[in-house]
C-alpha cells in the first residue's frame, strides 16, 4: 500500500487525463470548453507537482517487489516536480490558440496528461522495460498532439515525419535493450552496470550501448539525428511545440543521464576511446550545426527549433565531461547538477517563447515570421516584452535564468575538466556568442521596424497571459536568486551516480552506507561524512571537491 503512495504524482496525472477526457463528453458541442479544461488539467498537474514536493527528497532505499521497476529518489522527484509544472504552463498558454485552431477538445488536454504520465514513468525507471513503456506512452501522446490540427498541410507533414523518425528511434532503443537483456539476462540498470564493470563486456554489449545511445540521440535531437526537428517543431501546433521542446527534451535527457550514469559508467566510456570521442564530437556538432542553421531562419518558430538543437549540444557537454572524471564521483554530480539546472531554466524560457508565439495570428493562421513580427512592440508591448525576455534568457544574458545556467555549466567544464576540455569550452562560448545574433533579430523586428501593409491580429487570452507572466517571473527570479534551485539540482544529481545505485543493491550495507563510502572518498577527514550520515541530511558534505 505504501508503495502505491510513492506513485501518487503519476496516478494524479493519469487520473487528470481520464477525468478531462470524460468531462469533455458532457459539454454541448457548440460551447468552447478550452479554458475550463485547461484550468482543470493545470490544477491536476500542479497537484502532482505538489505531491512530489511533499515527497522530497525521497528515499534511497530500493523498493522491492512490484515497484522495483521505479526508483523514487531525489533525481526522480526533481523531474516529477519540474515536468508537471512545464505541462501546466503549456496547457495554460494553449488557451486561445486552441479555440482559434479548433483544438479545444478534451483529447488535446488529456494527451498532455498522458504524455506527462509517460515522462514521469520514464524518468523514474531504473529498469529498461518500464523506461521504454514510459517513453512510448509519451511518444504516442505527442504524435497525436502534433497530428491533431487537421486543417494544416504543414501539420500533416510534421506529424508523419515525427511519427516515422520517432518510431525508428524507439525501434533502435528497443533493439539495444533486447541485446542488453540477451547478453546479461537483466534489464535493471544497476545490474547492467555491475556486469559491465565486471569486465565481461562482449562485443554485443557495445552494439547494445550504441543502439540505445543512438535511440536517445533521436529523442533529444542531437546532430546527426536532428533532421526531423525543424519540420516537426514548425508544423506542430505552437503550444505543443513548446511542450515538445521543453518537456519531451527534459524527460529524454533525464532518462539518458540515468542510463549512462547508472549502467554505462565509467566502464564503457572510460575503457573505449570511441565513446569518449563520439560524446565530444556529438556535443560540438550539435551546438554548432544548430546555431549555424538557426541564423538564416525567417520564421521564429523554426529558428527556435534549431536553437533547441544547439541547447541540446550545450547539455551534451555534460556527457563529454564524463571520461575526464574517472572515479571522481563527487565532481560528477556537480556536472549533473548544472545539467539539471540548465534543463529547468531552458524549459521555462522555451515555454515562454512558444507561449508568446502561440498568441500571434488569428484563425489558425500562424504569423511567426520576422516580417509579421514587425511592430509588435507598438501593437502589444506586453507580448513583445515577454518574448524578448525569453529570447534573452535563451541567449544567456544576465540577469535572466539562462545566463546563470550557461555560466554554471561552463564553469563545471572548466573546473572539473581540469583544463583538458578547454577547446570544448571555447567552442561553447563562441557558439553562445553567435547565437546572440539570431536571438536579437526578432527583437529588432519587434522594436525597430514598423508593420508593413495589413497589421496582423493577436489572440486575446487572459489565461495565457497569466501563465506567461508567471513564467517570465520564474525566468527573472531564477536568474537573480538561483541558489535554491542550484542546491536542489545538486541534491537530485547526487542520487543518479552509479556508485550510489550499485552500492545500494549490495544488501550487506545499510541504506545510507553507500553515501558514507562516496563521501569519505571526497572528504579526506571522513568526519563530515559520518556526521552527515547520522543526521541523515548529507547536505554539508558536498563541498569535498
Amino acid at each position: 500500500m505504501n508503495d502505491l503512495f510513492l506513485l501518487a504524482p503519476v496516478l494524479i496525472v493519469t487520473l487528470t487525463g481520464i477525468i478531462v477526457l470524460v468531462m469533455d463528453l458532457f459539454r454541448s458541442p457548440e460551447a468552447s470548453g478550452g479554458t475550463h479544461l485547461a484550468w482543470l488539467s493545470a490544477l491536476g498537474f500542479a497537484a502532482a507537482s505538489a505531491a512530489a514536493i511533499r515527497m522530497w527528497p525521497g528515499s534511497q532505499a530500493p523498493v522491492e517487489g512490484w515497484m522495483s521497476a521505479l526508483s523514487v529518489n531525489a533525481f526522480t522527484l526533481f523531474f516529477w516536480i519540474l515536468l508537471p509544472l512545464i505541462a501546466a504552463f503549456s496547457v495554460l498558454t494553449a488557451t486561445g490558440f486552441d479555440r482559434e485552431n479548433n483544438l479545444d477538445h478534451g483529447e488535446f488536454y488529456s494527451f498532455h496528461a498522458f504524455a506527462l504520465a509517460g515522462m514521469m514513468v520514464m524518468v523514474a525507471a531504473v529498469e529498461l522495460f518500464s523506461l521504454f513503456l514510459g517513453l512510448e506512452t509519451m511518444a504516442l501522446a505527442v504524435y497525436a498532439l502534433v497530428a491533431m490540427r487537421r486543417t494544416s498541410a504543414r501539420g500533416a507533414e510534421a506529424s508523419i515525419k515525427y511519427f516515422i523518425t520517432g518510431s525508428l528511434a524507439s525501434a533502435l532503443l528497443l533493439y539495444g535493450m533486447v541485446l542488453f537483456w540477451g547478453e546479461t539476462g537483466t534489464l535493471r540498470l544497476d545490474e547492467l552496470g555491475r556486469v559491465l564493470s565486471a569486465g565481461q563486456c562482449g562485443p554485443i554489449l557495445y552494439a547494445a550501448a550504441g543502439l540505445v545511445l543512438v535511440g536517445f540521440g533521436f529523442k533529444i535531437a542531437a546532430v546527426p539525428f536532428h533532421l526531423w526537428t525543424p519540420d516537426a517543431y514548425q508544423g506542430a501546433p505552437t503550444p505543443v511545440t513548446g511542450f515538445m521542446a521543453a518537456a519531451v527534451k527534459a524527460a529524454s535527457f533525464a532518462a539518458l543521464l540515468r542510463v549512462v550514469f547508472v549502467a554505462m559508467l565509467p566502464e564503457l566510456f572510460a575503457r573505449s576511446f570511441t565513446f569518449v570521442d563520439l560524446a565530444i564530437a556529438v556535443a560540438v556538432l550539435t551546438m554548432t550545426v544548430g546555431n549555424l542553421l538557426a541564423m538564416h531562419q525567417e520564421d521564429v518558430k523554426r529558428m527556435l527549433a534549431y536553437s533547441s538543437i544547439s541547447h541540446a549540444g550545450y547539455l551534451l557537454t555534460g556527457l563529454a565531461l564524463v571520461p575526464q572524471l574517472g572515479s571522481g564521483d563527487a565532481s560528477l554530480r556537480f556536472v549533473n547538477g548544472a545539467v539539471l539546472f540548465y534543463l529547468a531554466t531552458y524549459g521555462l524560457a522555451t515555454l515562454l517563447a512558444f507561449g508568446v508565439l502561440a498568441r500571434l495570428g488569428r484563425g489558425g493562421d500562424e504569423s511567426t515570421t520576422l516580417e509579421r513580427l514587425a511592430g509588435l512592440a507598438t501593437r502589444r508591448p506586453g507580448l513583445a516584452a515577454l518574448l524578448s525576455l525569453a529570447l534573452l534568457s535563451l541567449a544567456g544574458f544576465p540577469p535572466t535564468a539562462g545566463f546563470f545556467a550557461k555560466f554554471a555549466l561552463l564553469r563545471e567544464l572548466v573546473v572539473v575538466g581540469r583544463g583538458k576540455l578547454t577547446i570544448l569550452v571555447v567552442i561553447a562560448l563562441v557558439n553562445a556568442l553567435f547565437s546572440v545574433y539570431y536571438y536579437l533579430r526578432p527583437m529588432v523586428a519587434m522594436y525597430m521596424r514598423k508593420a508593413e501593409g495589413e497589421e496582423p491580429e493577436e489572440i486575446v487570452s487572459p489565461t495565457s497571459s497569466f501563465a506567461l507572466i508567471l513564467a517570465a517571473l520564474g525566468v527573472l527570479v531564477l536568474g537573480l536568486f538561483p541558489g535554491r534551485l542550484v542546491g536542489v539540482s545538486d541534491q537530485a544529481a547526487r542520487t543518479v551516480s552509479y556508485k550510489v545505485a550499485r552500492g545500494l543493491n549490495d544488501g550487506s550495507l545499510g541504506a545510507l552506507a553507500p553515501f558514507a563510502a562516496v563521501q569519505s572518498e571526497t572528504d579526506p577527514k571522513g568526519v563530515g561524512a559520518s556526521a552527515a550520515v547520522q543526521t541523515g541530511s548529507g547536505d554539508d558534505a558536498v563541498g569535498g571537491r
Partner: protein
C-alpha cells in the same frame, strides 16, 4: 539440431521481412509478413518459449494478419504491379552502413571474444503459462499496468487522428 533449426528459421524470417517491404503488391507483402511471423513463432519454440509461440500464432499470424488482409481487400489496393522492386540507392545506402558497422565490429571483435561462456540462467518454469503469469503479475506488474495506459493513449490517439472532423468543423 536446435541451433540448425534456429538458423534456418532465422534465415526464413529475414528473407520474409525483406520481402515484406520489397513487394509492390500489398497483399504479397501481407503474406510475406505471415511467413515472417510464423518463422518467429518457430524460433520461440526452439527457445523453449512455447506459450509465447502459441500467442504469436494466435494473435499476430491469426487475428492481426486477418485484419491486415481485410483492410487491403476493402481498400482495393491490389492492382499496383506485382514485381519485386529493390531500388539501387537504398541498397547502396545499406552497403555503406554495413561497411561502417563492419569496421566498428572488427575493432571491437579484435579485443573481445564473440561468445562469453556464461549463458544466462533460465528457471525451470521459463516459457510455461505459470512462469509467464508469475512474471507478468509479479516482477513486471507495473510495466503490465503501464501497457494498459499505453494502449488507452494509442486507441484515443488513433480515433482522434482518424476521425473525419471535429464537431465544429465543416458546419
Amino acid at each position: 539440431m536446435e541451433p540448425i533449426l534456429f538458423a534456418v528459421l532465422a534465415a526464413v524470417a529475414l528473407v520474409a521481412a525483406v520481402a515484406t517491404i520489397a513487394w509492390r503488391n500489398p497483399l504479397r507483402s501481407a503474406f510475406s509478413l505471415i511467413v515472417c511471423l510464423f518463422a518467429l513463432a518457430g524460433m520461440f519454440v526452439t527457445l523453449f518459449a512455447h506459450f509465447l509461440a502459441a500467442m504469436q500464432i494466435l494473435v499476430y499470424a491469426g487475428a492481426i494478419m486477418v485484419l491486415f488482409v481485410f483492410v487491403i481487400m476493402l481498400l482495393d489496393l491490389s492492382g499496383h504491379g506485382s514485381e519485386l522492386k529493390l531500388r539501387i540507392l537504398p541498397v547502396l545506402g545499406s552497403l555503406a552502413v554495413l561497411a561502417v558497422a563492419g569496421k566498428f565490429a572488427k575493432t571491437v571483435l579484435s579485443t573481445h571474444p564473440l561468445v562469453t561462456d556464461v549463458p544466462p540462467a533460465v528457471p525451470d518454469s521459463f516459457g510455461t503459462v505459470p512462469g509467464v503469469a508469475e512474471l507478468l503479475l509479479g516482477q513486471f506488474l507495473l510495466p503490465f499496468e503501464l501497457v494498459s495506459l499505453l494502449l488507452l493513449v494509442a486507441v484515443v490517439g488513433a480515433v482522434v487522428v482518424a476521425r473525419r472532423r471535429f464537431w465544429r468543423e465543416g458546419k
